[in-house]
């Protein structure tokens, strides 16, 4: 009886020491995409050259970048799902997608909800005009002309408020493809947004439009990751560095935007940092 009791005490003592030792290492490891077996990646489905649904398959520069990054994380099983600009934060936070590569600009406000790997490319805001337009050589020449921007975009405000340029009319269309149509039929004089987005449209119809090639802002396209996944962010950065070093980035930029007169940067962008 007494013997058994003492054994109980010994077992309890052993147990408590183990618990103490174990508690010392709790809270060290959080789950990371680095250890994942499969990935669901959100990409655009309506952005030619970047992420476009072509007969049920999503194709574009963003898709190729996402594939390269996933391969470098050692993940073979990758599923691409279409995502719109408005859904990006929500689907990433809810875990519906693991990663977002969808012309996703890194901003201080978004960084409070999303951890960004990259940027994998720094797009610049630029202006697209009709190919036969000869009088627009810089952003200042938009004075007295009409400009189109996609709904919810801030692009044109940078020209009007930011640079104080007095445009004749600011049109808002439901999407940038609608803006491009208006530019094509002459309803508007210029379309302004990220040059990579414009280049995607231009590549579809290289003879109809031209760039003003006067880039004036930085749009840092990042790889959106679950907030706080520092290990994945660091691994993504490493993959992007390699993508530029081994020439893949230059090849992809040529493949998707080579037919346009876009001046692409073929050197690795300055990363945002993971914490």
């Amino acid at each position: 009886m007494w013997f058994r009791h003492r054994r109980g005490v010994a077992a309890a003592a052993l147990g408590s020491v183990v618990v103490m030792a174990l508690s010392a290492c709790s809270g060290e490891r959080a789950e990371s995409l680095v250890d994942a077996d499969s990935l669901t990646i959100g990409v655009k489905a309506d952005q030619p050259g970047l992420g476009l649904d072509e007969g049920g398959e999503l194709v574009g520069f963003d898709v190729d970048v996402a594939n390269y990054v996933a391969a470098h994380l050692g993940i073979d099983e990758v599923e691409f799902v279409p995502i719109t600009s408005a859904e990006r934060e929500e689907k990433l936070v809810s875990g519906e997608v693991d990663m977002v590569v969808a012309t996703y600009s890194i901003t201080p406000a978004r960084k409070t909800e999303v951890t960004f790997g990259g940027p994998y490319y720094v797009a610049k805001q630029d202006i697209l005009v009709r190919a036969d337009e000869e009088e627009v050589a810089s952003v200042r020449d938009l004075e007295g002309r009409s400009v189109c921007q996609g709904a919810g975009s801030n692009s044109a405000n940078r020209i009007t408020d930011g640079l104080g340029i007095d445009v004749r009319e600011l049109q808002e269309a439901e999407s940038y493809s609608a803006c491009i149509e208006r530019l094509s039929d002459g309803t508007v004089d210029a379309v302004s947004t990220d040059n990579l987005i414009l280049a995607g449209f231009l590549a579809e119809d290289p003879d109809s439009f031209r760039f003003v090639n006067n880039p004036f802002t930085d749009e840092k396209y990042g790889v959106g990751l679950p907030h706080g996944d520092v290990a994945a962010c660091e691994a993504v950065n490493k993959a992007i560095s390699e993508m530029y070093q081994d020439g893949t980035a230059a090849g992809l930029l040529e493949e998707w935007f080579g037919e346009t007169d876009l001046e692409v940067v073929e050197s690795v962008p300055q990363f945002e940092g993971c914490d």
């Binding site: 003592a13 030792a21 201080p108 406000a109 930011g162 950065n237 560095s241 390699e242 940092g273």
Partner: protein, 505 residues
Amino acid sequence: MPPNSDQLAGSPEPGASSLPPPVPAGRIRAWWPRVRASMRTTPTRVWALSILCALTITGLFGSATVTLNQARDGLHVLGRDAGPQAMATTELYLSLAEMDASVADVLLMGTDHDLGSGRQAALDRYDTSRTEANAALLQAASLTEGDTVEELNVQAVLDGMGAYDQKVSEARLLNDEAQAPPGEVDPEALEAYREATQLMHTELMPKAFNLGLDSSAIVRANHEAGQSSVALGLVWVGVVGAATVAALIGLQLYLRVRFRRRFNAPLLAATAGTVVLTLGVILALNSSGTHQSEARNEGLAAAMALARAGAIATDMQADQSRYLADEDLADNYQQVYLERAQQVLFRPASTLTDYYEAVGEVPDAYPELPGSNGEDPDDPGTLGYLGESAQDSLLQGEEDSLAEVLTAYSALQEEDQRMRAAAESGDLAGAIDIRMGVADTEDGVFRVYTDALGGLIELHRDAFTAGIERGDAVLSPWSWGLPVGALVLFALVVAGVRPRLAEYR
């Protein structure tokens, strides 16, 4: 008189059963009856239990030594090697930004060599930064050794610096030959400088910045790997400590049953000693780990983030010179200025005018941070390197230092507003005067800002050093405490068992 050992022969001894070494089943069959036969007498059983106690004490000593050494190594790698190297790599970006800033200032000054702190000071600054950049690259090279991706980046920055040097010498020479007056940079010189600063901003600085981030990543990975192996070691120490306590209790119980003695004082002391030793080591490792984490997070990581705030601000204020020197690209440089400013201290604003106003409110409101109450869905708060640093400020005296930095940063923006207003009203000479005043190395507002920031960074560096020292101080008594403790435990076991065994001689 010793009791009859046959009484217990049928029931296997709990302690003795763990004695046979793991050998193939065939051999166990041959060995086991002999071991069992030899375990029949009381002295052999006492011996076996004592040896078990000695083995577990040795195990405790071993596991604790290994884990304490791992913890000490982790502290030393962070404190002496990886930490300082990472800090140095972070400064590579600053040196590059300063090089490009000096050149922009020299070109803007043109023939007036006495503007601000003068042309010679700017040229000296270029040479100093060039030397510092080289030194930082060496640190980066040694930190990233063996990592092909980073080694290629280090090499690319090294090569690029040579090309950059050439282009800026050309720009300077052309501008000097053309006898360009202040603010009217010779077109050919400007073209050469555009190429140079383009090279700097697309090839060199991004790679340098990424190297700094990589060194942070290396420190983080080292730190976490170290912490998790120490955590594993802690489990081992706990398990072996518990096993030692169990073995000692087992020995005491056996002696109690066999020898009809109520207590064995030395063995009781040994049991208590084992508990103290195990808990002591676990607590020391735990608290050293906490100090190490503090050193990394509140010390090193915060210092590196602030160093980045300084480096980006250096590039930002150089955009003022570029804005004045290059009329064609002035809009771009103004936009880039705003973007860099937003990286340093973010407030929601899409134009510089809005930004000046929003940033002006920050030092007045501090320690409250505008927008951080979450009431306005369009206002994510005060962010960027300085904003985030203000959110996490925990160190003693940090609040005053931060207030100084925020005030200095706001003053820098006020000067910027004055400068652009002068330039837009056509007063180029006045704008250049303001710009060179900002960059004055003696008393310019940028100098005031970097000094204030330097003070804040120093606080975090001190926290880093202090964290490492505290972590070390917690561990150091155990370098003698552990072997002495283990020897005392051995001695107590011997003292507890010897008189009993003597009864059989």
